[in-house]
C-alpha cells in the first residue's frame, strides 16, 4: 500500500504549492481547506496501514475540528474586510 501513500502525498503537494504562491486570501483559504481534508484522510490511511487506532482517532478529530475552524476563520476574514 506504499504507492497509495506516495500518490496521496503528491496530491497533497498541489494545494501546498497553491497556498504558497497565491496572494489572494480566498484562494489561500481554499488551498488550506483542501490541505486539511487531504492530510486527515492521509492520517486515516496510515492508521489502517499500521493498524493503530490511536492515529485514526486523531485523523477523525482533525477532519471535524479542522474544517470547523476554517469556517470560523473565513467568517472572521469577511468581517475584517467589511470593517
Amino acid at each position: 500500500m506504499n504507492w497509495i501513500l506516495i500518490t496521496m502525498i503528491f496530491a497533497l503537494l498541489i494545494p501546498i504549492y497553491e497556498a504558497w504562491q497565491d496572494e489572494d486570501i480566498w484562494q489561500k483559504m481554499l488551498a488550506f481547506a483542501s490541505i486539511a481534508t487531504k492530510t486527515s484522510v492521509l492520517i486515516l490511511v496510515i492508521s489502517v496501514l499500521r493498524d493503530d487506532w490511536m492515529i485514526g482517532v486523531v485523523g477523525v478529530i482533525i477532519l471535524s475540528v479542522g474544517n470547523a475552524s476554517l469556517m470560523l476563520l473565513a467568517q472572521i476574514l469577511k468581517r475584517m474586510k467589511n470593517v
Partner: protein, 92 residues
Amino acid sequence: MINFLSYALISLGIVFWFWGTWPLIGDRSVLFKLHTLSVADTLGSMSIMVGLLLKIPSEWPLLILALISLAIWNTVLGYVLAYCSSSEANHE
C-alpha cells in the same frame, strides 16, 4: 474480491483528488476552483474511506464517523467559503 474492490475504490478516490486539485493552480475564478475542489475532495475522500472500510470492517464506527463528518463538513465549508468570497466581490 473484496481486496480488489477496496483497492479500486482507493484508486478512484486518488484519481478524483488529482482531477479536482489540478485546476487549483490555474487562473480561474475562486468559485470555479471551489466547485471542483469540493466535489473532488468530498467524493474522492469518501471513496477512499469506503475502500478502507472494506479493508478493515472491524473498525466501522470510526470510519463511518469520518464519512459523515466529511460529507457534512465539506459541503457546509463549501457554502461558507462561497458566501464569504462572493459577498466580498459584491462590495468592490
